[in-house]
């Protein structure tokens, strides 16, 4: 572990909240901006520094975003002879940083990588880790009062976490990304990390791009189908409607369990979480398992034969009746609306 030589340890404020920030094609990942928002709250009135750790070098617009979110110090982590993701190596780097900084808390997004890395940090230190937090505040210097999602967000747990640094991940569909009311100039520093042989046991060896089609997680419109669609063949009309709307098709667990559709299309607690402008849920009763995946949808419409289905208490609008009649009629109405 080494720090850029131009700074000494005494120049670096001790304490603070360290947030692991992930990136995607558009820069800093949205889930990480949510994590930064919760982490900033933990900096609180005593003025702890919000510190970001990013793997690789930061671009100018990314640095600007960090400033807007109130990040005082940003560490670009550079690995010796390691380019790909390695949960253990990344956890080592974060842990070294947290130890060097004397961080009071370590925060990551509730993403696959965020959960995994924080689990490694917890395992390495023996400290407790609270997953999918919605809010957190200090009780005293050693304990955090928090609320977190359980049952995929269908329940909230109020809990107390004891241990320093406090290890938290942030629910990706339960906290909004909010810029800081007082943006901060972000100082960029570099942290070099030399992964050990143990760290190198697990490294991504290849990236296989599946590409193609509208991704369910990012789709602006999702047409959902449940047990009420009736059969594999029944999805023909849904596919047609989805194509008309430029939508992705999402399904309930009952549908994938029946083998009608692949699991990659499953929306829910054990499938994909969606956040579209419109979720049109057809023949889906509304089990908590499914609702856990569509909590972030802006407008929810359900088409259901059963006017008493639980989904009707979560949807904004409903059409009651036979899917086999309503969906083709809806497709036809959209086509004729477009012609005029």
């Amino acid at each position: 572990m080494s720090v850029v030589r131009s700074q000494t340890l005494s120049e670096i404020a001790r304490g603070g909240v360290l947030c692991f920030v992930e990136r995607d094609d558009d820069g800093l990942a949205d889930v990480s901006l949510r994590a930064l928002t919760l982490a900033r709250g933990l900096c609180g009135a005593v003025g702890r520094t919000l510190v970001a750790a990013v793997m690789g070098e930061l671009g100018a617009s990314e640095t600007q975003t960090l400033s807007q979110f109130g990040v005082g110090d940003a560490y670009q982590v550079v690995f010796d002879d390691l380019d790909a993701y390695s949960p253990s190596a990344w956890a080592t780097a974060l842990l070294d940083l947290a130890e060097m900084l004397g961080s009071d808390a370590l925060v990551a997004a509730g993403s696959d990588r965020g959960q995994e890395i924080m689990a490694h940090v917890g395992a390495r230190t023996g400290l407790p880790m609270a997953a999918n937090c919605l809010a957190a505040s200090w009780i005293d210097s050693r304990s955090v009062q928090l609320s977190r999602q359980r049952w995929g967000g269908s329940l909230v747990e109020d809990a107390i976490l004891e241990g320093v640094p406090a290890l938290l991940t942030v629910a990706s569909d339960g906290v909004l990304a909010e810029v800081s009311p007082s943006p901060t100039p972000t100082i960029i520093r570099t942290h070099r990390s030399a992964p050990s042989d143990l760290d190198r046991r697990v490294v991504v060896s290849q990236w296989i791009n599946r590409g193609g089609g509208v991704s369910l997680a990012d789709a602006r419109v999702v047409v959902g189908g449940g047990r009420g669609v009736g059969s594999e063949e029944g999805f023909g009309a849904l596919d047609e409607l989805a194509a008309l709307l430029g939508a992705a098709v999402g399904v309930s667990r009952a549908v994938t369990s029946a083998g009608w559709r692949p699991h990659a299309q499953q929306v829910g607690q054990t499938g994909t979480k969606i956040s579209p402008e419109l979720y049109l849920a057809c023949g889906i009763s509304g089990a908590t398992q499914h609702l856990a995946g569509c909590r972030s949808a802006k407008h929810v419409v359900t088409i259901n034969t059963d006017a008493d289905a639980p989904f009707l208490s979560r949807a904004d609008y409903a059409l009651v009746g036979d899917l086999g009649v309503i969906i083709p009629a809806l497709s036809e109405a959209i086509r004729s609306r477009r012609k005029t």
Binding site: D24, Y85, P87, D112, R113, Q115, M118, A119, H120, G122, A123, R124, P128, M129, A130, A131, R150, W151, S154, L155, E157, A159, I160, L161, E162, R201, V203, V204, S205, Q206, W207, I208, N209, R210, G211, V221, H263, A264, T270, E277, S285, T288, R295, V300, V301, P310, F311, S313, D316, Y317, L319, V320, G321, V325, I326, A329, L330, I334, R337, R338
Partner: protein, 255 residues
């Protein structure tokens, strides 16, 4: 191939979760139980691996005496050995859970050899902690990967894949190791009638475990504040289609 799968008994909560009067637990009096969905797939994966390579599938759970039901479910699908860490029914935090599993693994391995592979579900349906597998791997000094949706097991190593941003990451890991899988890695089979009969006869090995207070402590549970008002019904049958298309236009969906 010697494979261990760790599973957790969880309630089937249906469409609405009801809490006990003290708001510390889910009221399970009207509910059935299952193992967490990711773990059903872990059991299925272990059985497939052993069908292909030969070997033994051991399934272990930490839970109240009733959790033997989930072990027998696993046996009805093809698990050969069942181990029950019998608790008093209180909830265990992930650190204590991992420690209890690690002690049990040591004692099982001392008796009948090392597990080539230990499988977990990515996270339990109820507590959603995302960490027990990693903690167990760390304590055992074995490599681990979470979120795995495809496994190809060789004699000394395995290939694991997981989804990442519209693609797949490939990992090559030497055995023994710990893998946390996600639903979708396979489509679990249904138990056969002979399987169910056989499961009744499998001996459940019981190891008592003592609960201890963790450093992540539940104060209370609550149902999140979400809207529960009824949807506005636009129409019955095709009557509402016109109104729905108008809403789509208003929301900019048809643009």
């Amino acid at each position: 191939m010697n494979v261990l799968v760790c599973v957790k008994r969880v309630a089937m909560v249906g469409s609405r979760i009801v809490l006990t009067a003290d708001e510390r637990e889910v009221d399970v009096r009207q509910l059935g139980f299952t193992m967490s969905p990711h773990e059903e797939c872990a059991v299925e994966e272990a059985i497939r691996i052993v069908e292909h390579h030969g070997g033994i599938v051991t399934v272990m759970t930490l839970g109240p005496s009733e959790a033997s039901e989930q072990l027998r479910d696993a046996a009805s699908l093809g698990a050969t050995r069942l181990v029950h860490l019998v608790s008093d029914g209180r909830e265990w935090d992930p650190v204590a859970t991992a420690e209890a599993i690690v002690s049990a693994v040591w004692s099982l391995e001392a008796g009948s050899g090392s597990f080539d592979l230990i499988l977990f579900g990515n996270e339990a349906a109820d507590s959603g902690d995302y960490q027990v597998g990693v903690r167990v791997a760390q304590a055992l000094g074995r490599p681990s990967v979470s979120g795995v949706k495809r496994l190809e097991v060789g004699e000394h190593a395995l290939e694991a894949r997981r989804e990442y941003r519209g693609g797949e990451e490939l990992y090559e890991i030497s055995l023994p190791c710990v893998i946390a899988v996600k639903e979708g890695i396979n489509l679990p089979r249904y138990p056969s009638l002979p399987g169910r009969m056989r499961a009744k006869k499998v001996i459940v090995e019981e190891i008592p475990v003592e609960w201890r207070e963790g450093s992540l402590r539940t104060v209370k549970l609550r149902v999140p504040e979400e809207r529960h008002d009824r949807a506005e019904v636009l129409g019955v049958g095709v009557d509402g289609v016109g109104a729905l298309v108008a809403l789509f236009e208003q929301w900019g969906i048809l643009a």
